[in-house]
Amino acid sequence: MTLQTSIKRNAYYDSVTLMLLSRELQKLDGVEDVLVGMGTDLNLDLARGLGLATDDFDSLTANDLFIAAKFEEDLISMQKIEEAFLETLNKSTESDGDDDYQPSSLHAAIQAIPGANMVVVSVPGQYAAAEVEDALDAGLHVMLFSDNVSVEDELRLKQKAVEKGLLMMGPDCGTAIINGVPLCFANAVRRGKIGVVGASGTGTQEVTAQIHKLGEGLSQVIGTGGRDLKDQIGGLMMIQGFEALIADSQTDVIVLISKPPAPAVAEKIYRIAKDSPKPVVIDFIGGNRAAIESVGAIACISLEDAAQKAVGILRGQPVTDFTGFSIAEEEIERLVANAAAKLKSDQTELRALFTGGTLADEAMKLLGVNYDIYSNIPLSPEMAIKNLPEGRGHICLDLGEDEFTRGRPHPMIDPQTRTDFFKSHVDGKTGVILVDVVLGFGSHSDPAGAVAASVREIRQRLSNQGKDVVVIASVCGTDLDSQDLHKSVATLEEEGILVMPSNAQAVRLTDRVMQRMIKGV
């Protein structure tokens, strides 16, 4: 076995590209282990941990790219590995077809595009604040996708943005659609009269996709980042976006989405809602219904419900909570009965594996109340996943959380993480599996296909024990998304997966199946 490092000085590629490259090179015959990365301390430690370190590491700086490989000399050479590296790289840039000059700095970029008005920042967190500051100073709005930005920086930058009348969406903001242009992770939706301000990425995606499915459209979808409504930040962007939508002639109904804000912040928002000339639908997921309704805003019980209510209000229809299913109760009962019938008596566990954080949240809010669910986003500290007892139990995981995305792309970009968890966490005791499938810009080209393939593998595995399993999914997407909503649904249904029209309904169906599953057939 040979250990060798190849170095490209002063080369820079973004983290996702490098991780995907590592994965491709790993597949080469003869390569036992390989890591492609920038020479940051973090990556070098990672490489050392994998036993890939060589003396060359000493000369590496953060600006150098390294390919550290352990390989069987008889089967492959470093040269071949480098060739594969270039080939894979060229393939990804070729398909891009992008010949355009890439300036080396924000400053040069602004000069290259007269009238530039939005900067999307997804550089490593430690560098993000400085770039955002430069962008705001130059009078541009910002979409800050990066996380690992300090609270102090976030506050300072948002204050500057508010002062200058600019948007600073983030940090950790995954979704926005400005002037009909999807930014980062967003679904293709039609323009329309509903405006959204959302502190949750996939929450915003689900709401906008549902609005589109119901036949209405979006005027503006503004992100705020997950921390915006905490005390330290005080809801600066939520308020900024909210007021902009009130003033926007193209917006008739406003939807606000977030986890419950800090009370003082919620107060500020309610006050604005109270004076709003336009109807306001507030989905503070699991939030204070009475408080919301007392200021004349409309409260919600799920993301789907928020969409339904916004559409209803726009159409002048009466607005009620959507608590049930889109299909008739008899049909649901039939589905549940058939599902439970498939299971053996020892198949009593839930495995919910989510790629979207807010969608996982919705699942936990309902299911976590009715059952003991161990999770990395538990409803109480005792239910943290590390506390999973020997005897085991139900599990619900948000695979997009930090602990699962170290050195790996987000599961919405690369399904591999969830594929791995399907293998490791699903066994003969699993009765029902619950997943989300998120389409749209930024997402993998065929997330449904990846889930279907995993389910196929699971059914094969379980059939050896004479068992089957119930799989329930929802697809967050629209007919305009490149991954093709209908094809995605068909792909899942072909694998015998029960596809529900929304995350909320998928969660409710899961609840029904679990009731049956646990009581015994």
């Binding site: 820079y12 973004d14 080396s104 939005m118 900067v119 503006q220 810009f441 930024g442």
Partner: protein, 58 residues
């Protein structure tokens, strides 16, 4: 420039970071430029300190 002003303009984007975001924008015909981004001064603290000393406006 205010947020509502932005709503009336054609969106023109500068992308710093993940190339895929830029690719998606171009695929929709949005005016966008991808920055060949590197940490400022290569992230070297010494250089950043030196630069900040002379970049102060008197």
């Amino acid at each position: 420039m205010s947020v509502n002003d932005l709503f009336k303009q054609e969106l023109k984007v500068v992308n710093l970071g993940l190339k895929s975001f830029h690719t998606d924008l171009k695929s929709q015909g949005v005016t966008a430029v991808h920055v060949n981004w590197k940490p400022k001064a290569g992230g070297k603290k010494k250089m950043l300190d030196l630069l900040s000393k002379i970049n102060k406006v008197k």
